[in-house]
Amino acid sequence: MQLTVWTYEGPPHVGAMRIATAMKNVHFVLHAPQGDTYADLLFTMIERRGQRPPVTYTTFQARDLGSDTAEIFKTATLDAYERFQPDLMLVGASCTAELIQDDPGGLARALALPVPTVTLELPSYQKKENWGAAETFYQIVRSLATQAPIEKAEGHGPTCNILGPTALGFRHRDDVIEITRLLADLGIGVNVVAPHGATAEDIARLPQADFNIVLYPEIADTAARWLERQYGQKAVRLVPMGFQATCDFVREVAALAGVDPEPVLARHGSRMPWWARSVDSNYLTGKRVFVFGDATHAIAAARVAKEELGFEVVGLGCYNREFAREVRAAAAQLGLEALITDDYLLVEETIAALQPELVLGTQMERHIAKRLGVPCAVISAPVHVQDFPARYAPVMGFEGANVLFDTWVHPLVMGLEEHLLTMFRDDFEFHDAAGPSHLGGHTKAAPTPVSPATEDVAPLALPVAETVLEGAGETIKVLHWSPEATKELSKIPFFVRGKAKRNTERYAAERGLETISIEALYDAKSHFSR
């Protein structure tokens, strides 16, 4: 058993729901107890869909357990077919139904519905949401994409499929628009986008494309590999997130399609490279950033952070073990050890230890960062309702690069302001408690103005002498800070003060100092700056 408060991923049947909901005229009959319908509201509330997800739950109850549940399943399946008349039925079991061992596939076959019916095996006690989505998509493709490609007419342009976008996907809606536009610029037609917006008939047409774009490997990689084996369709696995990755993507796609990428690259229109080079971005240099999310977004974000914004990536990790190898490789290139975990407490510990200046992560890291007082931007699912925005907000392609720049820089204190806060930190308008103006830092009444010449300083945000370090299981009472050292610490800019304080305390503890003096503070500074 695993003790969990937060889970990064839902169970695999939620992944299956994401595929069914993304597609058109598909219906999913899920053998599940009363209550599992909670998952509907992820789609109707977080993604704000105006239709119910196309899922019928058998909602069996305790009194039905016994022989009755198989009958309930058959009735629900027949009713759902008659009511919704889908072109494709999916049947599967949720975690509880897996235990009662009715056989949805066999029961559905016995009904002999006049439409293709795909049985999903979703091992709920081993696998999770992304796996469930990938498996469902793979099974659908395997069952329906059975028409061999037909010979193309002369002069027919190159075409591809875009694979992977689903319901409840982080920015999938706009990424598809952005990438489709980019492909159109290159003169490449999109044969099918799947599963997002695809019908059963569209899935059958998948083999007609020249190649596949695996936009979200977590969802589409399994299906793309099968298509490659079956029909020799090559796959582009490069994720076009960030300016360079988009350029690389354009080149790779163009090479596969036999078109010239250079005209498109020449008029890319992205503002991101110039924004990153403009002098106002100088202060971004070397900002310490921690990156966590699903593997695909985390790897791409780490590259953007390092090479396109000039940050220093101090941590990189993902929660989906299926792609741990890729994350480990990317982390090794940055000289880091990847953090592969679905335990948010471990992520929180790591962030607290690394003291980054910016966290790029999921909804969970947003809350961790808030608690630790570190700026944060969201780069990956799971996300909450505000990250399914009304406005156009892709994270892929050239517009996506613009979006990333704005989104990541915004939570940071802006350059000039940071400079002012450092220079005039004892000034009545620029003291620590004032905070960054663009983030509504002026919520408290301004303190009584004090002359910089006097000995009064703004009160410290952290009660220094009472801080307690929590180690692994043990609690160490920290040494006292001398009043002079406390004051000196307050002069260190607030965004590095936490780190300075921690380092000094570690330094003092290692040396058995009872009181931290100004000297100890600066000794520690020189010690750690080696």
């Binding site: 058993m1 695993q2 003790l3 969990t4 408060v5 937060w6 889970t7 991923e9 839902g10 169970p11 049947h13 939620v14 107890p33 009363q34 209550g35 599992d36 319908t37 909670y38 998952a39 509907d40 509201l41 992820l42 109707t44 509330m45 704000r48 869909r49 105006g50 239709q51 119910r52 019928t56 739950y57 058998t58 909602t59 069996f60 109850q61 305790a62 039905d64 357990l65 629900a76 009713d79 009511r83 949720s94 975690c95 509880t96 235990l99 009662i100 091992p123 709920s124 006690y125 081993q126 999770k128 969970m364 809350h367 608690r371 909450h384």
Partner: protein, 426 residues
Amino acid sequence: MSEAVTLTTAPTDARPVLRERGQREVFCGLTGIVWLHRKIQDAFFLVVGSRTCAHLIQSAAGVMVFAEPRFATAIMEERDLAGLADANDELDQVVDKLLARRPDIKLLFLVGSCPSEVIKLDLSRAAERLSRKHSPAVRVLNYSGSGIETTFTQGEDACLVALVPEAPVAQEDDPPALLVVGTLPDIVEDQFARLFAQLGVGPVHFFPPRNSASIPPIGPNTRFLLAQPFLGETARALTERGAQHLPALFPFGEEGTTHWLKAAADAWGIPELHFLAVVAPGRERARRALEAQKQHLSGKSIFFFPDSQMEPSLARFLSRELGMRLVEVGTPYLNRQLLTAEMAHLPQDVALSEGQDVDRQLDRCRAAQPDLTVCGLGLANPLEREGLSTKWSIELVFSPVHGFDCAGDLAALFARPLYRRSILKV
């Protein structure tokens, strides 16, 4: 203020109820944890279940998940399913780890889920075992919040049933005490406590208590009022301990609250005139507050999908005090015994339904085109998209809605969607 308030015992209600069976779009009882843990401040709720259970709690609790909440899930994995002995050892380890991390916890609920019920993991024995092990620092109890056994608010009923045996035994010769049963927001509890004090009814205790150390005594001298209509099993458990139920309307709106308070006042032999004098200001405030909402609600039709068992009581309030027209009142479970008074106050022509076949119920709702539909979040946006105004029902469980001073707020919850629809120009 001359009218008298009398309690009438309605004859057994024989009106037809549509009983349906099919897909049910409802929460399971685990959801009750989300508000129960806010009430009992030193309790922790550990769900023994699957990733689905953890995901549900997370979805229901929203941002609360991040505030170091007092609930969690022990997610069963493949190896736990292999053999039962193993699962018990695993559970003990999880509990040890949890209690080491949260030394402030005094009461731990092991909450059963569908998977744990289906594999017949005996959580009551686990609770006994763990109670012995962690005694006296922590008491470990268990109840089931599984979807196969409980619907949404029934999780609270199951939790309170587990808590009843923990109550000290009240002596037979103790003076009578009033027990108000059902989780209420603190502010509402305080409002009721003041009213009972003014009436001269008391001592008054609330159940569940705010702290596991202050579980009120229960015995033959206990008279109890249910603050919520979904507490049938708790009422039975209390009755078995000798406590006496005071039947009444539930305290929604001016009428319901008056009737509810009157039941206690009568049991304490409070003179009618004193009662009317004490409740007069509250009734007046409630009436004034309701008048303001009436313009939006009067004459409008309303359709309830089943969710919390509060539906018949809320429907009674909306029809009698705000002039709404009831199309269909759905409830997941209709406890006729507890709702005797409510049924007598519901219009005779109301269509009552118990249980659900959601697609058929949606057909009925679409055909009726009600002005307002009360439903869960899985249905709300899809119905709005079809042009129907909705009120999402979960809010009714979380918000302060009981008593005189919340009557206006309760009405406003229903009026707001209609008002909003009237002002939007897009």
